[in-house]
Symmetry: C2
Subunit: 338 residues, 2 copies
């Protein structure tokens, strides 16, 4: 399986982004690999910030940065022309470039020529491994947990990372399995699920979560949503291929419309649980939902506690915000391991 050794520490590049939901790569690195992030850089027009110091590429290189990570994604994963000058500036300052979009850095002649001239590397972490097999659907040893979303960009990766850490802190042998660019940057390996050719997507999920010791847990980063008008196929392939024993459904209270698709309502929690269990049972007959992970980042502590308690009462399962932790999160972890 492809694993990647990346030049570190990073300067995080935010482009001209105004939508925080598109900067989840940068936020994820700040939160989960802070020791690898020394600052952020963006171009005029950007309003999103990670809170890290703003450094020019030259300042970052002086401070020890080895690479600039493109820490934002836009719909479709393209590199807008407005970013190119900044990417060239980074290479001229001595930094390699790391990209996780569908558009490959190496496909931009100006970037390729600059990299060749200066001896810099263009590292695309969204290129899947070669020769992924078709899924077999055969049962595997070991235990698996998959995070399932009601939408994109609302906490599936955070939840998986939090649960993997919590499992480990309780002495449970657990591995975080990354399926997207940020997760791969954090974990140092994985498979970029959404870049796999559709026929092999379930096979990629099987490859990512192989046979393991009976007590071992793979904690798998979910992708997309089974209700998403563009990405549901990816979500279903990941669900079928990962054969989870346990799912945890991830939601953001107040997210009423699908990000980038305002004609589409976000599905309810019960509907999401029921559909995921029904579809997941095809390859994992004993699949169960251990609880709900709520992203309460836009609520204050009192509101968050109220929403968490109310949803737990309404759904009848443990509900927690992993970022807030606490007793609620302990109950969610216990439910996963039960």
């Amino acid at each position: 399986m492809n694993t990647i050794a990346l030049p570190q520490p990073y300067l995080l590049f935010l482009g001209d982004t105004t939508e925080p939901g598109y900067a989840k790569t940068a936020f994820g690195l700040r939160d989960w690999a802070p020791e690898r992030c020394i600052g952020e850089f963006s171009v005029p027009g950007a309003t999103v910030t990670t809170g890290l110091p703003f450094l020019t590429p030259a300042q970052a290189a002086s401070a020890g940065a080895k690479a600039m990570v493109i820490g934002v994604a836009n719909a479709g994963g393209f590199i807008p022309p407005a970013w190119l000058d900044a990417l060239v500036e980074a290479m001229e300052a001595g930094l390699d470039l790391i990209g996780g979009m569908h558009a490959r850095l190496r496909d931009f002649p100006r970037l390729r020529e600059t990299a060749e001239r200066l001896g810099r590397r263009l590292i695309d972490i969204r290129i899947p491994p070669e020769r992924i097999p078709v899924a077999t659907g055969k049962a595997r040893t070991g235990r698996r947990l998959l995070t399932i979303g009601t939408d994109c960009a609302l906490g599936k990766k955070y939840t998986a990372l939090s649960l993997a850490r919590a499992f480990q802190s309780r002495g449970v042998d657990a591995t975080f399995r990354a399926t997207g660019q940020t997760g791969i940057l954090i974990a140092g390996g994985g498979i970029p699920m959404d870049a796999v050719v559709a026929d092999f997507a379930a096979g990629a999920a099987e490859l990512l979560t192989p046979d393991a010791a009976p007590s071992h847990w793979d904690v798998i980063e979910g992708q997309g949503s089974l209700h998403h008008p563009a990405y549901a196929g990816v979500s279903l392939a990941l669900l079928h291929g990962s054969q989870p024993d346990v799912i945890v459904v991830c939601h953001e209270p107040g997210r009423d419309r699908v990000l980038g698709h305002p004609d589409y309502p976000v599905p309810g929690l019960r509907e999401t649980i029921e559909l995921a269990l029904r579809l997941g049972a095809r390859t994992s007959p004993r699949i169960r939902c251990a609880g709900i992970s709520l992203n309460t980042g836009k609520l204050d502590a009192d509101e968050a506690a109220r929403v968490i308690a109310a949803e737990s009462e309404r759904i009848g399962l443990p509900v927690a915000d992993p970022i807030r932790g606490g007793d609620a999160f302990d109950r969610l972890v216990a439910s996963c391991l039960a």
Copy 2:
């Protein structure tokens, strides 16, 4: 959108295939483009035949063939070493090669060198168009029908071709939309859905079935099955992206286990209809099932008539075998257009 102009007529290559289900490309060309097929060729061990005359590549070239089509697929779409001598022989006889597998002809050095030396073309029809957009989920004008399978290789393409012809014969403006290699060979264009990167699969289905006149029908070839352990993600992306007004569910009576995945039962018709309508309603709220297409090729005429009548009674919808036609098929067509 990519369309392809292929050298014709074809010699159909059957490899060393013993499983008829894997030779659907060859059977489809024989049945739907007979004027383009002058014979078949295979290597020792093959037991599958199209019934066309067996011709060596040299005999086929003398008879006017311009290309040899690899008319079989194996699980995963690879080219086994046992086929390579035959492919080289075809080029030496003067034929171009047309392939529709995931493995690209051009990736085999021996084939590439032979083609370059002899001035032959290696044509891979499974390469999707460049720059497929992410699906928008927005409603489009015109009407759409998608065939939905209970498994692979049981008649989704045949059904779509039959319905498109039947619509046209009734004066309805209809276009067959191909999503796989055989359909593309027959139609001369389309998008190889299973070769699209997973994130763009629903977008590819939108691209394949664009805005059209309100009375126009796109009749879309389905792929895989929503219950398939390896390919359900492709099927769901195609369902979401094609936004069908009407589905027709395709099944083979007696097919109890998923082809190539004997641990998996084939789902029932009611279950398949219900799941497809539920999932499809996400992007096409008024989706309905017009009826069932049964592949009764393994039954005699009396058995077929009995099964068709019994299933129609049981399900409460028109049921027909498009290959057998008759009143039952007329009722299915009328139900689609109702």
